[in-house]
């Protein structure tokens, strides 16, 4: 049942990329447990505006857990305390009356802060440009049912493709590695017949680009998958590692 909460918020404020930034504290009263976390931020921002202050900048759009825009690091965890949900899907019923909530942006050198809680994640787009596609031109595809795909493969490929590109995996990782994100895309195609022709080159190119963007190395702590709102599995990292080794060997032997 609906209740109201009083909360203490400690939010990271940073004017722009050059600013050093720091925490600012806010008190909020009568927050309904039916509100989403971002609606709670709307209330706070409205209050700040009316009082003549500067509202807190944060990324959001769909508020349905699918666009991957929202990106708050809440009480030390990307997307907050609940398993398998994004910040926008988190509701205030997951918090207690009187609680102090600490909110920071994603922290990773490959994701520089733009303002307050907004970071630059364009490195992810560039990794996709390096190989996260099937090179088919438009207009010459064959009938969609001409290649049968076993349901288990299609389902597993879909599970990998469910990644929303939010970057929580990077934020959760002490090395700021992007392995989970990259492996999800590599796996999606590796599991489909359409992905086979470019399978080796794809993994080599995407991994090389991931390194170039300054993401850290993977030391298998598993924090990424534990914090991923779409519960992308670590098996994709294992699959990518195998593909990478095979690809490296076969290109070396050429």
């Amino acid at each position: 049942m609906e209740k109201n909460l009083n909360l203490n918020l400690k939010v990271w404020r940073q004017k722009n990329a050059e600013d050093k930034g720091g925490f600012q504290e806010y008190k909020l009263k009568d927050i309904s447990t039916d509100m989403s976390f971002l609606e709670m931020f709307d209330v706070l921002n409205e209050k700040l505006i009316v009082e003549g202050g500067d509202p807190i900048a944060f990324d959001h759009d769909c508020r349905e857990g699918i666009c991957g825009s929202c990106s708050m690091f809440i009480n030390g965890r990307p997307h907050g305390p609940k398993q398998g949900v994004t910040t926008c899907q988190l509701h205030m019923r997951s918090f207690n009356d009187g609680e102090t909530i600490v909110v920071e942006p994603w922290r990773a050198s490959a994701f520089p802060v733009i303002k307050d809680l907004v970071v630059n994640r364009s490195a992810f787009d560039r990794i996709i440009s390096a190989g996260g596609f099937v090179s088919v031109n438009i207009g010459n595809a064959q009938d969609a049912n001409s290649i049968l795909i076993p349901k288990v493969d299609a389902d597993e490929s879909f599970a990998a493709a469910a990644c929303i590109g939010c970057g929580a995996c990077v934020a959760a990782c002490k090395n700021a590695s992007a392995m989970l994100f990259v492996s999800a895309k590599v796996s999606q195609f590796a599991l489909l017949p359409q992905g086979q022709p470019e399978r080796k080159q794809r993994v080599l190119d995407m991994v090389a680009h991931m390194d170039e963007e300054g993401f850290g190395a993977c030391t298998n702590t598993g924090a990424c998958s534990a914090e991923c709102p779409k519960e992308i599995s670590l098996t994709h990292i294992a699959r990518m590692n195998r593909d990478y080794l095979t690809a490296e060997l076969s290109t070396e032997s050429k």
Binding site: D34, D59, R63, D125, A141, A144, A161, G195
Partner: protein, 667 residues
């Protein structure tokens, strides 16, 4: 004046119009393509697919979107599926049937030629998506799976669980990023188009604002494609993403592009009801749920009251005391009637006092019946002879989970209620806008060089869109239509050299944009932007929503005018224009929504009939169904803008040569 609207529909019989057009449209040779520049505003299904196809053809392309990545365009949120006339289920589908269903679903207010083209390229879309690695749902035999959507009696909807839009957009986005990597497309994320630039009546570029720095930029293009989505957020509460807006289309409208059928908006029947004043948006529960969910309210008012006061639970109500009102009123289509019909029926029951949540504005969507049915089927498959009730329910729930798991999770996350155990509560909410910029058969607006694709145009859905056909239209426009039709225009532009952006027209356009921003920043009033947006939403929802009448619309027009004056004198925008400033972004969008809201009401007032989503209370049958007036209103209403918020109506007569128009019946 109607000469301003030349729809350029090719001659010939319906089946051959498009194929003939394709083989006769002028082409641009490859070396000329390299010097022709195209600006694409929007990276949703329409924009991303157009960008991928046009850059592949060799054009120089720039793409703009306001999100931080092209992959986050609102198309990502589409849930249920995409239609195609593949007839993989062997259930009698065909191009003609898809065409017919779409025209009928749109209540005979769309163009035959456009809709036929859409139906005939629908199959190619699925082929293209599968080839680019979109993981659609499959059967155990490895073939693609299908399901049904409203307004049809065949299974032609392809899907990827409840994330079809996501998978399709990521497919188009990967094609786009591939071209970005090859240097054929330049991507401008976190950029918002603020105006189009016309020179001598021809569109030659845009002014955009870099949302990170606040800097205004000028971009030249031989053609400009607006793929900027729909304007459902005029209602404040809708299922659209928070940033979805009308600004690009509206600015083009104010520069001369006609806005067609603005009052044709779609209220989707199955959304999670409003929970309180803090509500910032509404969440759709996909139409696909109506395949297995049955909609009902209590038969007795006292039960409805008891439910509202939380004295009883829905499962306490006996079968014979439930009113499955869609099955009762529309036995042939049952729970799968089109959206406008289902929404109005829900409103009718709730207005009559049978609504079920604390606000009285909700009905049930109940999966219990089909859960048991699936459970029994599983038992048979597994050769279990005497399964217990519990086993049946468990197996049935597993099937339901496989089909709709993510939607059920989302419902539980938002409401805190487990929909496997209790029926979902749903209520209609704004979802889609059939109206949009007027375009001809080539998808060009009445301004040469300016195109509109996807939800941003008015073209294919008439007065009501059928489920799973927006994704189809977006990808059809981008992958299969614009690559041909743009040649008709650009083949004549090959001698036009890129116009330097210090041209006075660019200068003037930028100055006007800057002046508007400065004016907004200077108001320094007392109320945040959302305050006005919420008020606008209420006016439009109450008077120009599921039911409209002349008196209410007239009142709404004056209320909106008054709101506009208040907005421009008392909105408060903190910070400055030279930095990332989300309040300033919102203010610009709300300013445009307010103007659009007035035009929507004007359009609704002038259309003295009921059709599709446009229900004028004065025009209904005895049974409360929409009453069309084909003699006087069988036209597209295209509005031309004049300074000071004045409009003139132009009519494009709709001609039906292949379909006999009739009163829509789903009984």
């Amino acid at each position: 004046m109607t000469s301003k609207l030349d729809s350029k529909i090719p001659e010939g019989n319906l089946e051959q119009k498009w194929t003939k057009y394709q083989s006769s449209v002028p082409l641009v040779n490859p070396s000329n393509k390299r010097s022709l520049e195209i600006l694409i505003i929007g990276s949703g299904l329409a924009g991303a697919s157009a960008a991928a196809s046009l850059s592949e053809l060799g054009y120089k392309v720039k793409v703009f979107c306001f999100q931080d990545s092209a992959r986050r365009a609102h198309s990502i949120a589409a849930q249920g599926g995409i239609n195609a006339a593949k007839n993989y289920q062997n259930d009698g589908d065909s191009t003609y049937r898809l065409f017919y269903d779409t025209i009928k679903g749109g209540d005979y207010r769309s163009r035959e030629a456009n809709v036929y083209r859409l139906a005939s390229v629908s199959s190619n879309i699925i082929d293209q998506c599968v080839a680019s690695g979109v993981p659609f749902a499959r059967e155990y035999g490895g073939l693609l799976s299908n399901r049904s959507f409203g307004g049809t009696q065949v299974q032609r909807t392809f899907y990827a669980a409840g994330q079809t839009g996501q998978q399709l957009l990521l497919g188009a986005y990967s094609g786009l990023q591939r071209q970005v990597g090859m240097g054929n497309v330049k991507m401008y994320a976190r950029h918002e188009m603020q105006d189009v630039v016309n020179i001598d009546g021809v569109c030659r570029g845009i002014i955009a604002r870099d949302l990170t720095t606040g800097k205004l930029e000028r971009h030249f293009g031989h053609a400009v494609l607006l793929c900027t989505g729909g304007y459902g957020n005029v209602f404040y509460l809708s299922t659209n993403a928070m940033g979805s807006n009308v600004t690009a289309a509206w600015k083009a409208h104010k520069k001369g592009a006609m806005f067609a059928n603005p009052c044709f908006t779609q209220i989707h029947p199955t959304c999670i009801p409003v929970s309180g004043d803090h509500q910032s948006k509404l969440t759709l529960m996909s139409e696909s749920l109506r395949n297995d969910g049955r909609i009902w309210v209590p038969m007795k008012k006292e039960d409805a009251l008891a439910l509202r006061e939380n004295r009883i639970k829905p499962n306490d109500i006996k079968e014979e005391d439930r009113d499955y009102y869609l099955e009762r009123r529309y036995p042939a289509f049952g729970n799968l009637v089109p959206r406008d019909v289902a929404s109005r029926a829900a409103k009718e029951r709730c207005d009559a006092g049978f609504g079920v949540n604390k606000t009285g504005e909700a009905v049930y969507l109940d999966f219990a019946f089909n859960t048991i049915r699936y459970g029994k089927m599983e038992a048979t498959k597994k050769n279990m002879h005497n399964p217990t009730d519990l086993q049946i329910v468990e197996m049935g729930r597993a099937v339901v989970k496989e089909k709709y798991g993510n939607l059920f999770d989302m419902y539980q996350q938002i409401t805190g209620v487990n929909p496997y155990e209790q029926p979902m509560m749903i209520y209609p909410a704004v979802h889609y806008t059939m109206g949009g910029l007027w375009v001809d058969y080539n998808l060009m607006t009445n301004i040469p060089g300016l195109y509109a694709l996807g939800e941003a145009n008015f073209s294919d859905h008439g007065a009501n869109r059928l489920g799973a056909s927006a994704l189809m239209q977006g990808l059809a426009d981008g992958y299969f239509v614009i690559p041909y039709t743009i040649g008709a225009y650009l083949s004549k532009e090959i001698m036009t050299k890129a116009i330097p952006t210090d041209h006075p027209a660019f200068e003037e356009a930028e100055n006007i944009v800057k002046a508007t921003i400065d004016e907004l920043m200077a108001i320094k009033g007392t109320k945040p932007v959302d305050h006005f947006h919420k008020r606008l939403g209420l006016i439009i929802w109450n008077q120009c929503g599921m039911a409209r009448n002349a008196e209410g619309l007239k009142k709404a027009i004056s209320d909106v005018q008054q709101l506009r004056a208040e907005f421009w004198s008392s909105v408060r925008i903190p910070g400055s224009a030279n930095e990332m400033n989300s309040e300033l972004e919102k203010a610009g969008r709300v300013a445009d929504f307010i103007e659009l809201g007035e035009l929507m009401c004007i359009d609704a007032l002038s259309r003295e009939e009921s059709c599709g989503g446009h229900f004028r209370e004065e025009h209904q049958t005895e049974e409360g169904e929409a009453l069309r007036n084909d003699v006087d209103y069988k036209y597209v209403a295209a509005w031309e803008y004049f300074a000071g918020n004045n409009w003139e109506l132009h009519k494009e007569e709709l001609i039906y040569e292949n379909i006999k128009i009739a009163q829509r019946s789903y009984k």
